[in-house]
């Protein structure tokens, strides 16, 4: 005997097996991300007033990636309806776009990651803070490009060690630097600059590299997950999401390539598979729709 309802729906539920399966699986995924979102809310609400960093991510890039995912989502449904209309070529075309979108998304995401990992945040012995992109790092000194200071009224939006700065109000850019010359900080380049440029008033331009002697450095960290709980949750959630993107893309690519043989033998079932993988894909999109404002905009 064969397992029934693999392709045709069962009468009383109106569903075929895999459809039930995928929805159950998505239900557990909802709980998984629900756990992370709870953690996010909790850590954020529980954080000391004013220490939760905001606006450190690049909004245009994030928006771009959001659009990429939305496009891929619509091509998935279009591909499925093409199959329903028995237009295999159209299906192939749309699903190819989906896969390309997935690739773009992952590439952009890894660019963003790299950008954060090379972003260093340095606290000097006198309490001054400087951050910028790593140019060079040796045992004696560290060189940062596009060094950045936060406009005073925004305060220091985050603290690598929460207690570190309790008694050190954010250093004004003028007084920054320990021997006065090198550390004059400069306006933002990426990330924070969306809002910052207007309020920024010092510095005469970009591209100055800043070299700091290690002897002056009290504490130094890059913007990895260890930098603060914001980055911790940012990296964890987006990495998990990216894994879902990769997983989904692999399945879709498999069905597009070698798995497409089934179209000849059992088109109904093949179409169902596309629907199932599509449901997963939309879910991944859905998660991003929430992740984007929560991590990038708020």
């Amino acid at each position: 005997m064969e397992i029934p309802y693999v392709t045709e729906p069962r009468k009383d539920t109106g569903l075929y097996n895999a459809k039930v399966g995928i929805w159950l699986f998505l239900a557990s995924e909802v709980m998984l991300f629900g756990g992370f979102f709870s953690a996010y809310i909790l850590l954020r609400v529980g954080s000391v007033e004013g220490t939760w960093p905001t606006e450190l991510l690049n909004v245009p890039i994030g928006t771009f990636n959001t659009l990429v995912l939305i496009i891929s989502s619509v091509t998935v449904v279009l591909a499925w309806s093409a199959l329903k209309l028995k237009q295999f070529g159209r299906y192939k075309f749309f699903q190819a776009i989906t896969i390309i979108c997935a690739l773009i998304f992952v590439c952009v995401k890894s660019y963003e990651y790299r950008d954060k990992f090379t972003h260093y945040d340095v606290i000097l012995n006198d309490g001054t803070r400087v951050d910028g992109h790593l140019v060079e790092k040796t045992d004696e000194y560290i060189t940062l490009s596009h060094p950045l200071s936060y406009p005073a009224e925004k305060g220091i939006a985050y603290r690598p060690i929460a207690i570190e700065l309790r008694d050190n109000p954010p250093a004004d850019a003028e007084t920054a630097g320990h021997d006065g010359d090198a550390a004059a900080a400069h306006p933002a380049e990426e990330g924070a600059d969306e809002h910052a440029t207007t309020s920024d008033s010092h510095g005469d331009g970009h591209g100055h590299d800043l070299t700091i002697q290690m002897a002056d450095v009290k504490k130094m960290t890059n913007w990895g997950p260890w930098a603060n709980t914001y980055f911790a949750i940012y990296f964890t959630m987006t990495a998990l999401h990216a894994l879902h993107v990769i997983g989904g893309a692999l399945v879709i690519a498999y069905l597009w390539g070698p798995g497409a043989k089934m179209w000849k033998t059992d088109p109904e079932r093949y179409t169902n598979r596309i629907e199932i993988s599509g449901l997963f894909w939309h879910f991944v999109d859905l998660v991003w729709i929430f992740l984007f404002p929560v991590l990038y905009l708020l």
């Binding site: 005997m1 064969e2 397992i3 029934p4 309802y5 045709e8 069962r10 539920t13 569903l15 075929y16 097996n17 895999a18 039930v20 399966g21 159950l24 699986f25 239900a27 557990s28 995924e29 709980m31 998984l32 991300f33 629900g34 756990g35 992370f36 709870s38 953690a39 909790l42 850590l43 529980g46 954080s47 000391v48 220490t51 690598p160 060690i161 929460a162 207690i163 960290t221 990895g224 997950p225 260890w226 930098a227 603060n228 709980t229 911790a232 949750i233 990296f235 964890t236 998990l240």
Partner: protein, 601 residues
Amino acid sequence: MESTQTHVQDETAHDAHHHDPGFWRGYIFSCDHKVIGIQYGVTSLVFLLFGFLLMASMRWSIAYPEKPVPVVGKVLEAVLGDTAAGGIISYDLYNSFGAMHGTIMVFLAIVPLAFAAFGNYVVPLQIGAVDMAFPRINMASFQFYFIGGIVMFASFFIPGGAAQAGWTSYSPLASAIPTDGQTFWLFGMVFLISSSLLGAVNFIATIIQLRAPGMTWMRMPWFVWVQFVTAFLLLLAFPPLEAAAVMQIMDKLAGTSFFLPTGLAIGGQLADISGGGSPLLYQHLFWFLGHPEVYVLILPAMGIVAEIIACNTRKPIWGYKSLVYASLAIGFISFIVWAHHMYLTGMGTKISTFFQTTTMIISIPSVIILTCLFISLWGGSIRFNTPMLFALAFLPMFGIGGLTGLPLGFNFSDIHLHDTYYVIAHFHYVVAPGTIFGLLAGVYYWYPKMTGRFMSEFWGRVHFWSSFVFMNLVFQPMFAQGMSGMLRRMADGGAGYSIANNPDAIGGLSDKMIGLNISISHAAWALGLAQIPFILNFFLSMKYGKKIESDNPWQATTLEWQTPTPPPHGNFTSEPKVVRGPYDYSLPGAKEDFVPQNQSA
């Protein structure tokens, strides 16, 4: 329904290449739910034994702290090295064993046995399905479980040994202990959780989609219902723990501070971490799973007990509908009681009122279930065979365990009882003489279905009575110990807090309480010996057991007994058509005292 013709064709086509799947495809990488069920069953029984052995060593340390373990100590030293130097169980090793006893018993022994093994073998048969809805996912589920088990097992042999932060694995301790065993534990858990998720999806889809014609929801055996609820608990409660595990992995490996607060100091120095995390967050995520998990442990056992009681009283289960609704209610409410494990983490009145109220509410469906099972006995014609003995013993044992949950459930009395041996006794009464008895009953009951032979009735009785006596000798005294203030997770069994140790201090443990440790330990080892008849019986009966005379040796009504023994691939020779409820025993006017579900009169 498609035309029957295709089915017939399929069948022959199938027979052709399923005739001899060979050893690997047939037993190791099989997709057949029955084989997977047996794989789960054997693996989890082995882990049950292993969990017991860990505990047996711990009980030595509790009874005779810092004395070398006779015989076994040499082995431990040879295998584990310094932590067992001189054959003495060090505190580190005790903590490893404690954490792993809990983990292995819960996640590697009882859940796989109760849910995956019995569920896999019995559920598709009972609903008249040919297999699980997704056989290959089913196989993957077992493989994940197996890998998870190996990861957990391997962690004993790495430097530093296995996890030492208890089965609850609270942060920051989990991040602070020096062994990598914790990392193994976390990765092992990720595998086990994934395995359970796959299993849960499969079970629910199977029960929703593959019920045979006529098998309406209210005609399902109650066992299927509880497996259904259990699957939902696993499906929805495990993912938050997976999230917690991932975050704890990040804390350990990526230097994040999800669960590490600002100002954390290790060895007096402020730790070099970003801080800003919350240790309580971990506890919430853990117990969000933790509480539903305990119902995962108990519901399948209750289901088995109900099946056996119905069959061996020769009358229907009393209040089938109440049972169904009570189990659904337990499932729902179990998600909102979790913080009763956290009363003493500093809870205000409002929130603890909420949680203790829900805790009291959830005890009502348990009372209903137990009441229904008790009342089912009335008017029966009770056969006292081995499965029935275990099933009957389940009732008062679960009763004791459940009732002692009440003083824990009220926050005010929990102040005194929290983290004492009273808690240990409470939950062991539900999981050990409770669940384990239920599961053993199931083993004795379905063994003939799996092998075509009975297990020895005589040795079954020996096993039952000795287990029953020793179980109670182990756990009953723990209530007294806990009440008098003995704390759990003490490698020396509380000797450090005894009057003997601090003669001038008030409130120490009396010699009598400390002395009980020794008798408990002896009872625990005897309990282990009492399993030898079972293990022998289990293996020898496959060859020498009494052959069954019919496919329905217990004269039961449910569908698993209406197939050949053991059931062939595809389970049924012809598709069963269900025409009645699950427990039509002693139906007035029927020829025999049982009417199978697919028989019209």
